[in-house]
């Protein structure tokens, strides 16, 4: 059977998705043990979106998303160590223990966060793309948000300007069916979210987010358009989160059957099946990948455990770039 992608790509997807999945399963456990605090939103189930984006973009492309950011941060290349340490609030974390789960960032990896105010990053993503255009690069910006965020006014203002100025941005709505306990059907009469692009004459499309192949293809087209000066694209990527909205949500608003239906389409299982069916790897090679991921996740926990908390003096650090700012201290 002819596969649309080569062996290397499938193995890349498999390892990356396994790392995201195992990292977050561990994070979920550690949250239960109160090693991780605050809000913690898991990406489990949505990994194919990250994987497909990564294989269709280059390292110098930018990414920005909301608080459900662990998987995407790992995909963009932030180490499991730095991510786990951040969840612990340690000084060695990817924002030095300042941001926690919701605010992963890496300037080096061009990962622009990690944002907590629903929908705000739609505009920020357009701005990041504006700066690329301004500086004459061919870098694209991947700007991600949820189905809930699609109902913020920000979407309309940002979409309009992005088209008007042909900004090299790919807007992605990760439609996982719910915004907290609110299903997409309860938020609008426009259920094909990608059609919101029509109002601004932006190309829009719907993509199967449980399939790495489909995500890759959709992103590849959109990125090409962005690089060639054709302006923004809007992709609605249909996906599903297996867990509750955050660690405190029992997700009673949806049925077991619905969850099972999506688990049937699990992207990791599917990619593994393609790998095995096509003899892209032996069982031993797959075991070796699984073991590598296990070790990486375990090591990240050890790293986080052993890292120090930020010094108390960090309270007044990273508030301004100005290092001599006169804070009011009484």
């Amino acid at each position: 059977m002819q596969t649309p992608f080569d062996k290397k790509t499938y193995l890349y997807w498999y390892e990356l998705m396994m790392l995201m999945r195992r990292f977050e399963e561990k994070a979920g456990q550690l949250y239960g043990m109160q090693k991780i605090r605050g809000f913690c939103h898991l990406y489990i189930g949505q990994e194919a979106v990250a994987a497909g984006i990564m294989s269709a973009t280059k390292d110098t492309d930018n990414m920005i998303t909301a608080y459900r950011d662990h998987g995407l941060a790992i995909a963009k290349g932030i180490s499991a160590d730095a991510c786990m340490a951040e969840l612990y609030g340690k000084a060695t974390g990817c924002t030095k223990g300042k941001g926690g789960s919701m605010h992963f960032f890496s300037k080096e990896k061009r990962f622009f966060g990690g944002h907590g105010i629903v929908g705000a990053q739609i505009g920020l993503g357009a701005g990041i793309a504006f700066a690329e255009q301004y500086q004459g690069t061919d870098n694209a910006t991947i700007c991600m948000f949820g189905d809930g965020a699609a109902r913020q006014g920000m979407l309309h203002e940002a979409f309009n300007m992005a088209v008007l100025w042909k900004l090299p941005v790919i807007f992605i709505c990760e439609n996982n069916g719910y915004a907290m306990g609110t299903s997409v059907e309860r938020t609008s009469k426009v259920l094909d979210i990608y059609r919101l692009a029509d109002a601004y004459d932006m190309p829009g499309d719907s993509v199967d987010g449980m399939s790495c192949e489909e995500v890759h293809k959709g992103i590849e087209r959109a990125v090409r358009r962005a690089r060639e000066g054709g302006g923004p694209t809007f992709l609605e990527i249909k996906t599903y989160r297996y867990r509750g909205h955050s660690m405190s949500d029992p997700a009673k608003y949806r049925s077991k059957e619905e969850l099972e239906e999506y688990k049937e389409k699990d992207p990791i299982t599917n990619v593994l099946k393609t790998i095995m069916d096509n003899n892209f790897a032996t069982q031993e090679e797959i075991d070796a990948i699984n073991e590598k991921v296990r070790v990486e996740v375990e090591a990240s926990v050890k790293f986080a455990e052993e890292s120090p908390y930020p010094d108390d003096s960090e309270l007044y650090k990273d508030i301004y770039m100005d290092e001599n700012y006169p804070f009011i201290v009484d």
Binding site: R37, R151, S188, Y309, L315, I319
Partner: protein, 327 residues
């Protein structure tokens, strides 16, 4: 007397007012089918139905505007923000519209409504989810501002807020929704604009509000062990500020400390300090002092959260300075 949680006290206030006045409705994210993000509105959809308990999309600016427009037209909306951090998206409607309605229409229109939700930090939630905004709204003519987490006060004040003919900003506390307090079965109202002396004392006055009242009361307990008698005042309403109650107390104690979860620049304590030095200058035996959050954004790490917020230990030290005990 029976004991109930803050979230139930708030719910009872809304339920009683909705039974009393059909023009009152509740609108916000997850208020209906999910029974409230923090279960404040649990069961209200069942009693009042979807016409009066209304789930919204995540569209703060839009539903705040729908609230203000509806308030101009003979209804009394309660607009719930999941937290006040998210109300930043809607501040245009609160400040430029609700607060201005009476003025710019020459008194023809008003916006009798309540904007409510949890305010302030709630554990390790980092910079965007940990802000306290009492002083921001208290700066705005046309608004009234209430901030309390005592179940008794919260119920009585929320009922008054719903009946009030002006827009009221009502601030609760996410981390204290489960806190218990005595609340009578019988109906009662608490007037807006009245502070409460929560502990009578003679040596120093401590003023606070919302969850920092815990720190204030904790400090008073510690002081009592050293035979120092602190008077503790809960502001409850921030605007209008009941400075008379503070002046009366300072006349007795001659010393004032304010404990608040607020950034220091232009804080509620700053305003109190001005008012007290003006109205009670001759009674003061020490400078008015305040303890606020750090002049910083709140970071995630647990030690940095602890360093950011006022606590009993640091407040105690400050009170002792005001009592000239440490020097």
């Amino acid at each position: 007397m029976r004991t109930i949680a803050l979230r139930q006290a708030l719910r009872e206030a809304m339920e009683e007012e909705m039974r009393r006045d059909p023009s009152v409705f509740l609108m916000g994210e997850e208020v209906a089918q999910y029974n409230g993000a923090y279960k404040v509105s649990q069961g209200m959809l069942d009693e009042f139905g979807p016409k009066r308990v209304i789930d919204t999309p995540i569209s703060e600016l839009g539903f705040a505007a729908i609230g203000v427009g509806a308030a101009m037209n003979n209804t009394r909306p309660i607009i719930e923000f999941m937290t006040w951090n998210f109300a930043e998206l809607a501040i245009d409607q609160v400040v430029n519209h609700a607060a201005k309605m009476v003025s710019m229409t020459g008194g023809q229109f008003s916006s009798p409504m309540v904007f409510r939700g949890p305010n302030g930090s709630a554990g390790q939630l980092a910079a965007q989810h940990s802000q306290a905004f009492e002083n921001w709204y208290a700066n705005v003519p046309g608004l009234k501002v209430i901030s309390t987490c005592d179940p008794y006060d919260a119920k009585g004040l929320l009922k008054s807020a719903i009946r009030d003919n002006d827009p009221v900003v009502f601030m609760e506390s996410e981390s204290l929704y489960g806190d218990l307090g005595e609340v009578p079965e019988e109906e009662y109202l608490i007037p807006i604009g009245k502070a409460a002396v929560k502990r009578v004392g003679t040596d120093v006055t401590i003023v606070s509000y919302n969850k920092m009242m815990k720190v204030a009361m904790g400090v008073a307990d510690e002081l009592a062990k050293e035979n120092i008698s602190a008077e503790v005042i809960d502001l409850r309403t921030i605007r209008p500020l009941d400075w008379h109650t503070i002046v009366e107390s300072v006349k007795k104690t001659n010393r004032l400390v304010i404990v608040e979860e607020q950034w220091p620049f232009g804080s509620v304590g700053s305003e109190i300090a001005y008012r007290i030095q003006k109205e009670a200058f001759d009674y003061l035996d020490a400078p008015v002092r305040r303890i606020t959050t750090a002049d910083a954004n709140m970071h995630y790490a647990p030690n940095l959260v602890a360093a950011y917020l006022p606590n009993v230990e640091r407040t105690l030290k400050l009170v002792k300075e005001v009592l000239y005990m440490n020097k």
